[in-house]
């Protein structure tokens, strides 16, 4: 292999040179080319890296591996290069395994996330609903003896409907009947009276609203209204007939007029 005329050393020649098994005269020619420019140096560095990779990967023939090991034993730098590559390869493999695991988890989460989001929505909805229910209950209970919530329904013009709710659960220790603050513009009071332990067959009720002993309003066949677990009697009273003061609402099943129940309430109007 004459440096001026011969071809570039091929991979096998480079490897033979590196492992020191090239005939001396041929190796001397490669020496000449090695010290003449940097091209052969680059080829040798590349081939040495390939040799290191093959050694670490266990791809060398036994004779080559033995030669390489003996070179490593003589050259601390070569030994360090091999060890560096071994560490690099191990780290790369571990990182690949780690990435794959993370990818699998991400995929799993990707599939699970819509379901989780839906579940979260449902739970949130139930929670909010429960919160509202609790707030209503709290309001109703805390209103207790002092006042009963009144809802205004401004349907048209000045005449409006106000709704008051008389709960069946009267708080303990209540010192007086519930108060209904009737808005000034209310023309009709819708009074919803919750029945305690209503008889299932009692569909029609006789209802009377009294101011003291004076009968203000009455209905002989007031139907019951059921909302969920709760049963109501709904009566509509002219607000003009209800000046501020105490009232009694008296009701009994039409079929059983003797089973009379009464509830007291007080009407208040804004000053």
């Amino acid at each position: 292999m004459n440096p001026s005329t011969s071809h570039e050393p091929d991979r096998q020649q480079l490897r033979d040179y590196l492992l020191g098994r090239m005939p001396e005269d041929t190796a001397a020619e490669v020496d000449e080319r090695l010290f003449d420019g940097n091209h052969v140096l680059e080829l040798l560095e590349e081939e040495r890296q390939s040799l290191i990779e093959d050694f670490v990967g266990g791809r060398l023939y036994e004779q080559e591996a033995a030669l390489f090991r003996s070179q490593m034993a003589r050259s601390p730098e070569l030994g360090r290069k091999v060890e560096d590559f071994r560490e690099f390869l191990l780290a790369l493999k571990r990182e690949t395994a780690y990435s794959e695991k993370r990818k699998t988890l991400s995929l799993a989460f990707l599939f699970l996330s819509p379901a989780l989001a839906l579940l979260l929505c449902v739970v949130s909805l139930l929670y909010v609903k429960e919160l509202h229910k609790s707030a209503n209950l709290h309001a109703a209970l805390s209103a207790g003896p002092q006042t009963t919530q009144v809802l205004s329904h401004p349907y048209a013009g000045d005449s409006s409907l106000a709704t008051a709710f008389l709960s069946a659960n009267v708080p303990r220790g209540s010192s007086g009947p519930p108060e209904i603050l009737l808005p000034a513009n209310a023309s009709t009071l819708e009074l919803q009276v919750e029945l305690r332990d209503p008889l299932p067959d009692a569909k029609g009720w006789k209802v009377e609203v009294l101011a003291g002993n004076e009968l203000l309003w009455q209905s002989a066949h007031t139907p019951v209204r059921r909302v969920g677990q709760e049963t109501f009697l709904t009566v509509f009273v002219n607000a003009q007939d209800l000046p501020p003061g105490p009232y009694t609402i008296r009701y009994s099943p039409t079929a059983n007029p003797g089973a009379i129940q009464t509830r007291l309430f007080v009407i208040r109007k804004p000053l």
Partner: protein, 191 residues
């Protein structure tokens, strides 16, 4: 890098050598490393003990000659001559397995050895995770894709639309960045 290594011989000789190797410090440093690498290849293939030390010996002798005022037309060609002379001074140990002291093999990890989880590997992993995704994929494809087969890498280069040399260079640069990252972390830990 050249400055970090212990350079045998006089400071004057080393300065003279660098001056002969390049116009700038960077160019001289690069040339120095290339020449040293050539010498190591030479002494390695000659199956001589500690080729790194012999390379430094050659560089030291050249430096001294330069400091003495010798004009050298081609430092590399001159270095080969000195290297041959140094090689002749040594007792050659040929690359024959039977000539190698078996004790050496005890210090060389076997191919299939399970690696220790030392700090360096842990930092390597961390630095690998910090690499941009493209670089990371490139490394994995290059080193784990085809078992190191040349054809696999050639195919990879074709797929990426670059020459195998460019791909190799890219991978080399990524590995160098990785090494810098590991070194920085290890240094930081020492503080």
């Amino acid at each position: 890098m050249a400055k970090e290594r212990s350079i045998p011989g006089t400071h004057e000789g080393f300065t003279s050598l660098l001056a002969a190797l390049g116009d700038s410090a960077a160019a001289a440093g690069q040339h120095y490393e290339q020449l040293r690498a050539k010498l190591i290849f030479f002494f390695t293939r000659k199956a001589l003990e500690v080729p790194e030390d012999l390379a430094d010996e050659v560089l030291d002798r050249i430096g001294r000659r330069l400091a003495e005022g010798l004009a050298i037309l081609s430092v590399d060609a001159f270095a080969l001559g000195v290297a041959r002379h140094v090689a002749q001074e040594q007792t050659p140990i040929r690359n024959r397995v039977e000539t190698v002291d078996p004790i050496f093999f005890h210090n060389v990890p076997a191919v299939s050895t399970t690696f220790n989880e030392d700090e360096r590997i842990v930092y390597l992993e961390r630095c690998l995770r910090r690499l941009p995704s493209y670089d990371s994929q490139l490394l994995k494809g290059y080193y784990l894709g085809g078992g190191g087969a040349i054809s696999a890498r050639k195919n990879m280069a074709e797929r990426l639309g670059v020459s195998p040399g460019t791909l190799r260079q890219k991978v080399f640069l990524i590995r160098r960045r990785l090494l810098e990252c590991v070194t920085a972390r290890l240094e930081k830990r020492k503080l």
